[in-house]
């Protein structure tokens, strides 16, 4: 049974501070040799650059899904701690939207766990993006490429 404290997962409207998160992941030194972080930014609108985003989610489910993804990562790789922050509400082009951090004794495990978590978050966590322009609003379609990126992990398990 893996112990998972819920403060590893935060859903918030305000921006986050990567420095602070990195500092927390450093606390596990000297039992760790590696910290890997991923920060996702708002980019690539299908409309024009005056577009903004609105993010909504299914809050009770989000926490369960993200906790489950972290558990899966911990079962696969010897990571000591991990952290997920996801923003909701209104976001502008270029803003930070999501953070994933993981630490581990070995670097390849920290890389794998961090990428696994963001790949599964993208395809399983119940967030939805809406683009807002002066002409109206439209929901963003799910990307086939994200589904395929997740598939890699299953192939990896079968061939590993």
């Amino acid at each position: 049974m893996l112990v998972l404290t819920l403060d590893q997962i935060t859903i918030q409207t305000e921006d986050f501070n990567v420095a602070q998160e990195h500092q927390c992941l450093l606390q596990d030194a000297p039992n760790i040799g590696a910290i890997v972080t991923f920060t996702g930014l708002v980019k690539e609108f299908t409309k024009d650059d005056n577009t903004s985003l609105f993010l909504e989610h299914y809050s009770t489910m989000t926490e369960k899904v993200l906790a489950d993804i972290i558990q899966q990562a911990k079962q696969r790789w010897p990571i000591i701690n991990s952290r997920i922050i996801h923003r909701i509400g209104h976001l502008q082009l270029g803003e930070q939207i999501v953070f994933v951090g993981a630490n581990s004794p070995h670097r390849s495990d920290a890389f794998a766990a961090c990428e696994f978590i963001i790949d599964f978050l993208k395809t399983e966590a119940p967030f939805w993006k809406k683009e807002i322009t002066s002409e109206g609003e439209s929901w963003v379609d799910a990307k086939e490429s994200d589904r395929k990126t997740r598939e890699r992990w299953y192939n990896f398990i079968e061939s590993g």
Binding site: Y58, T60, V98, L121, K122, E124, P126, W139, A142, K143
Partner: protein, 82 residues
């Protein structure tokens, strides 16, 4: 009683985020709820013709997943976070 939730594009289409549905003894799986909602006609029929996902008590499930009185059943489009 069942708690039915709709999110994102699906909520906009059916014009409702949450409703309570009286439990009926013939309900066996999520399929029965989809059938019942589809029978309401538009906008439900159109909304449910898209590729949608369903979660029972916050876990994504197949449509033949068993349901019981008191469950929370959510319908939503493929996720687009991160």
């Amino acid at each position: 009683m069942l708690k039915i939730l709709y999110f994102a594009r699906l909520r906009d289409e059916v014009g409702c985020s949450k409703e309570l549905l009286q439990w009926q003894d013939h309900f066996a799986s999520v399929n029965d709820i989809k059938t019942l909602l589809n029978q309401r006609g538009e906008p439900w029929q159109q909304a449910f013709s898209d590729n949608i996902l369903h979660a029972v008590n916050q876990h994504v499930v197949q449509s033949d997943h068993a349901i019981t009185d008191g469950d929370e059943i959510a319908f939503f489009p493929p996720v687009t976070g991160g």
